[in-house]
């Protein structure tokens, strides 16, 4: 069973070729796909996140790990049964209208995915109407919004208002983050949480889903 450990280590090192090779070996040996995901791939990212938070790993390394993880997931995902993915929570993510910066958002998507969420990435410059439509379509547990500009911060308020008007506010938790934000702002616009960085976002999202 040391292969799980090797797989996790390969994810940590961002070695996508090795991740693919070990994942294939495990699949061929008849290992349950969900175990490969949980004990191997995500276990690797579970080491990455705290190291990133502690300043021992840096953005380029995290991106390499996330890429390696994604390569492994590509192989395993088609093998997961409906039962396996039934209790996976959905996380909807986008930068708000007018905000065209995707670096922070992409990092959040990777880290949250590594927390075992099914992340629906709406991309950048997402209008309130698009958020509402996506909530109706994907029925997420959590909606994440980010903004890098002070000018687009108010887009979060507009989005939360429209979600409320659409009668969907109680069906989702809303997390916000981004360079110009601060906790009081998140509170003032009626978000459920302010995330200082991608790892904090994953931790909050995980805690929120566990409560439900």
């Amino acid at each position: 069973m040391s292969n799980f450990k090797e797989l996790a280590a390969a994810v940590l090192e961002g070695d996508d070729e090795n991740v693919q090779a070990i994942t294939r070996q495990l699949i061929n040996a008849g290992t349950a796909p969900l175990e490969i995901v949980n004990k191997g791939l995500l276990a690797g990212m579970d080491i990455v996140a705290p190291k990133f938070k502690a300043g021992e790993m840096f953005i380029p390394e995290v991106m390499m790990s996330a890429k390696a993880l994604a390569e492994g997931m590509k192989l395993v995902k088609p093998l997961l049964s409906a039962d396996d993915s039934a209790d996976v929570s959905t996380f909807l993510m986008g930068t708000v209208k007018g905000d065209l910066h995707d670096i922070g958002k992409n990092l959040v998507v990777m880290i949250v995915e590594s927390g075992g969420f099914n992340v629906v990435d709406l991309g950048i410059d997402v209008a309130p109407e698009q958020f509402v439509a996506a909530i109706k379509e994907h029925k997420p547990h959590i909606v994440g919004m980010c903004a890098l500009l002070t000018t687009t911060m108010m887009g979060m308020k507009d989005t939360i208002e429209l979600i409320t008007e659409a009668g969907l506010r109680d069906s989702v938790k809303i997390l916000v983050g981004g360079a110009p934000l601060y906790p009081e702002f998140a509170e003032k616009i009626g978000a459920d949480g302010y995330c200082v960085d991608a790892v904090a976002c994953k931790e909050m999202a995980t805690a929120m889903v566990a409560k439900n």
Binding site: L107, T150, P180
Partner: protein, 266 residues
């Protein structure tokens, strides 16, 4: 070389609190320190005060001008906040940070540039978003240049910001900025530059080394304006040294002055 002192920005906790508490003394002290450290402009940014940016801008501009006569750089993407600051300016010509080639923003900011005869920072950005390559940036620069000239802006009052992205996520980000600077210099030799430099090192350790190297690299390519912390003696010393090596420091007087001030201690 134009240095815009970046410290009066409410995204910094101490400044945010000073604005909330109307602590004029603290703001004035930060303004004075930057002026004394050699800032040519003092940036005023209270964009994070989204619920009362206009009022905060008025208070900051009045407060700073009671302490120093250094020109101000009024910094907001919000035209209302820009105007609130600009109409209180007492000393010399202000700088506006910033305009872009996004339709409504351009239309709202350009009358302010004309009315206050302001120097203007133009971000290499349009509706298509953040440019990746030097070619993307030059397309925006070309369009903006034509429009700004048509609005009566002098080359000498125009500061292009090539938009610096983090190399931690976009490996080519630094190289593309260097190419952009060279291309702008070639095609529009009379215009100036401005940039927030420290984005380049976001997400990486030992950021100050990357920032300082990038100053040297961009200066060699023709960059002549930065928004940075002028009280960082290491950075300011490096800029003096780079000017000397580029032949912009007659008799090395700037370099020697920086030496005597102890800027090269370590």
């Amino acid at each position: 070389m134009v240095i815009v002192g970046e410290l009066i920005n409410t995204s910094r906790k101490a400044i945010s609190e000073a604005v909330d508490n109307k602590d004029a003394q603290y703001i004035q002290q930060v303004a004075r320190e930057q002026a004394e450290a050699g800032a040519d402009f003092i940036d005023v940014n209270c964009g994070s005060k989204v619920f009362n940016e206009v009022e905060s801008m008025r208070w900051l501009v009045s407060t700073i001008q009671q302490a120093v006569q250094t020109p101000l750089c009024i910094d907001s993407p919000n035209p209302e906040a820009l105007e609130a600051g600009l109409e209180l300016i007492m000393h010399t010509v202000p700088m506006i940070n910033s305009i872009t080639d996004e339709g409504p923003r351009f239309e709202a900011v350009i009358p302010l540039v004309q009315k206050y005869k302001a120097k203007i920072v133009a971000l290499c950005m349009d509706e298509c978003g953040m440019p990746d390559t030097a070619a993307d940036r030059m397309r925006v620069v070309g369009n903006l240049y034509v429009k700004l000239k048509a609005a009566g802006v002098d080359d000498d009052d125009l500061y292009f910001d090539p938009l610096v992205k983090p190399v931690s996520s976009v490996a080519s980000a630094g190289a593309e900025v260097l190419d952009t600077i060279r291309l702008i210099r070639e095609q529009y030799p009379q215009v100036h530059f401005m940039c927030g430099l420290s984005n380049v090192s976001y997400g990486l350790p030992n950021r100050k080394y990357l920032n300082r190297l990038f100053v040297a690299q961009t200066m060699a390519a023709g960059m002549d304006g930065y928004i940075l912390n002028p009280t960082d003696q290491g950075m300011m010393g490096l800029i003096c040294a780079a000017k000397t090596l580029l032949g912009q420091d007659e008799f090395c007087m700037g370099y020697l002055k920086a030496h005597r001030k102890g800027f090269y201690g370590e």
